[in-house]
């Protein structure tokens, strides 16, 4: 495996806590771009602000570490100005769904040819564990000390509804499937959105009885349900476990796109 060659070795070890999934997702993404044989000189990684977005600084390509929530808008500029570049975006749930929600739905609507990898750890990790738009109801965080009272966003469904050409969700436990999904995302013209459920032992797990690094990964392993099975259950009217993480490919379509070379 040669994702190592895509890393800025002089910047490692990275800033993430022990057991943080971001490193795993970075490995999978870089393996995907390497397997596809992308040219590092013609590939740009764009990130916003947050733990997830720091990923771009560890990739040995041109990389743009931008302002909070705006990664997709910056990436749109890069891709439209030079459609021959491969542009990938690292973002997180707070960055993408809260402050950057508008840019997210509009990028999906435009179907601009970007690959967006969202590390969804259900929390604002970098600022110390505040509730985010994906924090599940009842979960504890520093700003939801009595349990989150707001419903959470389903990011994958949001991307499907907004018009993205490729949408998948996996977890950081499913490394092979994730790598394949990112590969499929890069190969699909138009906006590809890969939501990755990520663990945050330090700021999410610690407050939600998932203190051990492996606790959240164990949840990913045991509670994930393939989209096909989920659809089958729903169609049959059978009960679906409320804490099931639906994983798999949500959509792959060929709607008109923006930002591909003529």
């Amino acid at each position: 495996m040669t994702f190592e060659t895509w890393l800025r070795a002089d910047r490692l070890p990275h800033i993430w806590c022990s057991g943080c999934s971001n490193g795993t997702i970075l490995n999978c993404t870089l393996t995907a771009v390497d397997d596809l044989g992308l040219d590092p000189d013609r590939t740009v990684f764009v990130g916003g602000i947050g733990c997830s977005s720091r990923s771009v600084g560890y990739v040995a390509t041109d990389s743009l570490h931008t302002t909070h929530g705006r990664a997709l808008a910056f990436a749109t500029g890069v891709k439209l100005a030079d459609p021959t570049l491969n542009v990938l975006v690292f973002t997180g749930d707070g960055d993408l769904a809260a402050i950057g929600g508008n840019h997210f739905i509009h990028s999906c609507r435009r179907n601009i040819d970007l690959t967006v990898v969202c590390m969804n750890n259900l929390i604002y990790g970098m600022t110390g564990g505040q509730g985010s738009p994906t924090t599940p109801p009842g979960a504890l965080s520093t700003t939801t000390p009595y349990g989150a009272s707001e419903p959470a966003f389903d990011l994958a469904q949001l991307a499907v509804a907004a018009g993205a050409n490729y949408v998948a969700r996996w977890t950081s436990y499913h490394v092979r499937e994730l790598e394949r999904a990112i590969r499929a995302g890069i190969e699909t013209p138009g906006l590809s959105f890969i939501e990755v459920r990520a663990s945050c032992p330090t700021n999410y797990g610690r407050r939600n009885r998932l203190r051990d690094v492996t606790d959240q990964i164990e949840i990913f392993r045991t509670r994930s349900m393939l989209k096909a099975k989920y659809d089958r259950l729903v169609a049959a009217g059978s009960p679906v476990p409320p804490d099931a993480i639906v994983v798999g490919e949500f959509v792959r379509r060929a709607n008109p796109v923006m930002g591909v070379p003529p």
């Binding site: 890393l7 993430w16 022990s18 057991g19 943080c20 490394v175 690094v213 492996t214």
Partner: protein, 90 residues
């Protein structure tokens, strides 16, 4: 090939102990210079990639490396096996 853990990068999360199908990684017991309990290797020669990488010419399995959030797991080349001729005198 030889399986190695980069102690400079490892942060001791023990995810490798969870994902290796051969249970080659064991939770570490001794703190290193940075105070991190780096996992220990239990008979790493059992690793598929160590044994068969040369034969197939590509990385096999590799789940531990892909999962390791700290990019600390890799395989390094070993000195190739050299047959030694031994003469036994009766």
């Amino acid at each position: 090939m030889k399986l190695v853990i980069d102690e400079e990068r490892c942060k001791g999360c023990n995810l490798c102990t969870m994902v290796c199908p051969y249970r080659i990684f064991r939770p570490g017991t001794r703190a290193n210079r940075k105070g991190i309990l780096v996992p220990e290797l239990d008979r790493p020669e059992r690793c598929t990639n160590c044994r068969l990488n040369r034969l197939y010419g590509r990385t096999l399995c590799g789940i531990c490396q892909l999962t390791c959030p700290d990019q600390a797991i890799s395989w390094v080349d070993e000195k190739p096996y050299e047959p030694v001729r031994m003469e036994v005198e009766y």
